[in-house]
Symmetry: D2
């Protein structure tokens, strides 16, 4: 007889839908969980892919109308894995229905959407979760432990890069991630949000002041396949769509502890498919993480004897590292998918243990804080000057 269950209703069946389906499926295989997550209902707009995904991943039910899930008392958690333009509507509706709500990042397209979503979960007092999945990469979680142990000390410098190159060719067709009305922004919300969140999580620092700039290198692209809800202009015989989001964003920042930072996110960094990279230099030590080298955290311990100092490549795959011991022996690597599995396991445990929403990381507080920084960078780029984050209200 199974123990008590957590019935999950997932919205979205594309890239993130697949990652979340896998997470809910696998979490109980690798974690001893106090609640058993049940893949109860999958929701999405188009019937064919909805049915296909539901069947492939063995969801018990599916519906084209997500509101069916809100009124179903069996469902405890609404998990939002849609494109960004649906986040606000869905999260607010879920909160109002008193459902716990987990939302993919970035929290919202805009600062005002984010504030409304945040207010909704606060008002409803529901558990709220943001899928900043990289927080639960073992190396990233271990980085935070080192900071908390005082191994890095006062932070002088941070450097965050999120480098991709998948749209550097002008022939790469237009997709929803290049539309402001759907995505809200380009690399800024999609990529930079991850790195900003990682820095906040690992270091505990806040961004006090920022100055950034945006660029769209390629202003219009062929419209490869019809995108739901998007209209396209036409150039000669080929339909073209206008890219109205950033291809790249750069910003400098000052941190609450007195440190300085540089951040960059781009989809035009040839040679980097998915390099979410973060470095921190403190007076006691330094850290480096690079997503393609998923298993490793690099640590420089400046308190060692002078001749012995060096960058140390720690394989965070042992039972002594966060999450890793749930899977395989050391250096039998896990990957990207398991960062979602770990998150699903932690969400489940949080709900089971009836902890306060504020005790979970990352929650909508973290999403809002990240969105405030994104917005401050956007304003600074428009005004071509430095902006204090707290002035974004």
């Amino acid at each position: 007889m199974p123990g008590p269950s957590l019935n999950v209703g997932l919205i979205g069946y594309q890239f993130m839908g697949k990652a979340h389906s896998n997470a809910w499926l696998q979490a109980p295989h690798f974690f001893d969980l106090p609640l058993h997550p049940v893949m109860h209902t999958l929701s999405g707009r188009s019937l064919a892919p909805l049915q296909k995904t539901a069947k492939s991943w063995n969801w018990q039910h599916y519906t084209q109308n997500y509101k069916d899930m809100l009124t179903n008392p069996d469902i405890g958690l609404i998990d939002i894995a849609t494109p960004n333009n649906a986040h606000a509507e869905l999260a607010i509706a879920a909160a109002e229905a008193k459902k716990d709500v987990a939302c993919e990042k970035p929290l919202a397209r805009t600062w005002s959407e984010a504030k409304a979503m945040h207010a909704a979960v606060k008002k409803a007092k529901v558990n709220n979760f943001l899928w900043f999945n990289y927080r639960r990469v073992p190396a990233v979680a271990y980085a935070r432990q080192l900071v908390l142990q005082g191994r890095i000390g006062r932070i002088f410098h941070v450097r965050g890069l999120y480098l991709q190159d998948w749209i550097k060719s002008p022939n790469t067709p237009f997709v929803w991630r290049l539309s402001k009305s759907v995505a809200g922004s380009g690399s800024h919300g999609d990529l930079c949000a991850h790195t900003i969140d990682m820095l906040r999580y690992i270091s505990g620092e806040e961004f006090t002041e920022v100055c950034g700039t945006f660029e769209t290198f390629i202003k219009q692209r062929p419209l490869g396949r019809m995108l739901e809800g998007l209209t396209a202009s036409s150039s000669g015989s080929q339909k073209l769509a206008k890219v109205d989001v950033d291809d790249a964003v750069l910003f400098l920042c000052r941190l609450s502890g007195g440190g300085l930072g540089t951040f960059e996110a781009t989809r035009f960094a040839t040679g980097y498919h998915n390099a979410n990279t973060l470095e921190i230099n403190g007076d006691k030590g330094s850290l480096r993480f690079d997503l393609p080298n998923f298993s490793f955290l690099e640590f420089y311990d400046d308190t060692l004897p002078a001749s012995e100092k060096g960058w140390r490549k720690i394989s965070c795959t042992t039972a002594n590292h966060p999450y890793a011991g749930q899977y395989w022996p050391p250096d039998h690597p896990i990957g990207y998918a398991e960062s979602f599995v770990n998150t699903a396991a932690d969400i489940t445990s949080h709900i089971a243990n009836a902890k306060k929403p504020a005790d979970f990381h990352a929650n909508f507080d973290d999403g809002l804080a990240c969105q405030q920084i994104l917005e401050a960078v956007t304003v600074s780029a428009k005004e071509k000057c430095w902006i204090k984050t707290k002035e974004i209200r």
Copy 2:
């Protein structure tokens, strides 16, 4: 309505049982398969762990008597994931029952067991599969493609290392992998078999002559927990068990194409938890693979202009690399578990397409070839001289 099914009966519920359960579960999620693998029955000797694993991974049935599966006409494939001492009995029984059979590596404890197993599947004409899972790491499969394209050319040198360090402390307790009666050998069959197989697979070369040596650094160990079927000696108040397998093996070899090789497998290489490393130097190019850097293959193309030559780190995570495109976008890494998923998918497709057993890699032919090399090294170590592989009969 699901399509036709492949009902799998798995024997074993420990480390490999978990890896195989995951493989059968996940294969249809990431591959479009012509048959649907069904997790039909799990078998094992001890009831409690058997039940627990069966339930956790949602096996439809379980049994403590594997023969129940052999007589069940619904079951098409017997998958053996037990310790090595059960391989021969189970595989031969499965073949005699006309079941297709998949066996964990190494094929057997000994050369004579291996020959008997091989004869059984040949006689029964059943499909036979060996879980040399590293063949289906994308970087390894891609390495073979480069060789087949002629990018490496005539092979001068190969270097294979399988380095672990998990028993280097004398306090590490005795486990079944240290018992000759259970495991057959130590690092030789457990680790070196993998590297030998990888070389055969990637290069197509055979080992013509070998000369090796073994060492057991720590001769007896504390008996941590009761091991099924093992008796222990006792030293004072603490029970000690004799380690009668190799801690490490080294060998030199000559290859069919005229090249030279060095191989080493050990559980005493401090700093290496699971470094299955293979290098190949040919007259046109060179290759390097290292398991902890799972996503990458290093390639040196000696046909490039002189100033441009260099070791190239290829992230084998794109849709252009074997298997990788079934999962996530580039540089969203997969890991160890997916090498089993890929194998399960290929086994399923092979059976569905009714191909000849000999068309599948790796099958019992490959297992036997590997075992012959292992045996030749063993003989050479005893005789302290070089041995021709073909003299092992």
Copy 3:
């Protein structure tokens, strides 16, 4: 009988004095030069170290009064290796004396000094050289070749870091590099100037617009030993000196070709002693150089077949790479000192071949261009907004 000579008068006997002495000594040992550089006269202010350096390196003469060299018709080249505060006086005097002049970087403490120096060499029509020694690291010179061959294409992104950590401790004593009156700036002119110049040299791009910020993490330091010409405040029993230069500088930029850049120079990046690092991402390929990995250039060729793309680590130590063939066989590495030797050889050849001053890289034009960028960053940091480089006049 030796061929015709180039008599060199060097000013400075400290770190750079040693590097230049070595360069003039070694250039004829590794290069076939049309002129023989002669170590004619060494000049400096303090007699004891002057005599010691002159003797150790076998300078033929020495003088405490550099003007002796200006009036000596035998001397053809005045080489300035002093702290920055003497550059302007010495270079202008040398030019007025119609001597060819080579100057250490940065050209000057300030934009106005730089303009005066530049005007002086232009008016005198003398050969003028700036020791941006990193231009003549083989990997850097080869990077430029790849750009010129069109292997990088349109540049989207550049990232320049010059990371050191030698003063991150508050106990590190005050030295001349921390004094604005002597050095002009801190990490900005000392380090960032190198990386800016490398980018200009390798890519041919100009900086059109910048926005930066400075930080001095530790505002005063113990006065370790008496520094010539500096007065110190006193705090209790220990004398303290005020640090009035930047410990770190960060800036964003836009480039003439439409690309974006981030630059950072700091003496507080724990774990990095001397990491002068430059990355360039173009639409055809990408490059990475990192000074501690001196021998290597990393190149990503995006025109290769999709499955074969990867970062390639080219050991620029062969006869096919700039300068390297003058020394030892491949992968018998040269180092930092040889970047000066290569520069001395090129200066000598330039003078021998009576080329136009403008034909040499780097010359005072390059020094002035770099200084203009440094100044634009300084202004932008004061005004907290973006500044167009060309507005610095």
Copy 4:
């Protein structure tokens, strides 16, 4: 007035002649030496290159008859940098003339030559030095310090590779290094001798038993230019010379402390120009050195807390590392040439301080020990079995 001098007589003007000339020239520039090494006389057989090298490097005298130096009472040290076939004659003559003698590695072509040379210096009681220059790479010297501090502990495994690829093409012409009468052996004495010596130096272990094999992949080569003293066969219109030395050597070994080793040296490892690589795995820690990454030693400290263990890349360029502090600030790398400079400085200091010949490393004792191992491998390859080193007499 200079202090007392050490007048050096160098024999040889090719590759090693250049490396030694540079070493004697530079040693006093970077080290405070108790004796001043004077570049007194250069000797060689062919007048033109002798004169050219003598002039370029400023040798005070030159002679085609090395015996002139033996009878010159001013000369204190005879430095032998010739091809191997002259080592024995020159070293024995120098010893008999009561000159201190420094010899390039390998000590000799053969075991019997080596014994005669060793006997000669013992009988003459002269200082004797062997240029195993890699002992004085800072990272290598530091590796020994770590072993001596007990940081590695009991050694389980060593792996030595010396990989080059310069003759892998059959078009590479014949040179003296491919002639047994001149070189004695191929990669064995040229390359493997270095790695064997590095292991002896770093670990203090001796080789008790070996088993090896040789290969000559390409048996004859075009005779590019006339080689002194060699006759060539002829094939059609092109002259071909027979390669009668090994292109590659591999051997296994057992060490005095109970560990196991694999060694390989080859000129056919495509992608490796000069990779002299050594790894050591002990029960307390592990070490890795790789010549092309000259500045770095990798260290794995197994005594750290479990979660913090990792391979640490130590840049041995600081004042806390051997030799490095004599040159430039940290991470301003030195290179291959400085390993000779360091050796020249140590030889000079040794002579100045009138230490016993046995106190210097490496001396002819070390050369003899290395030659004994080389010989044991040679015998084992002939007999195709293991050989105890001490049986070589």
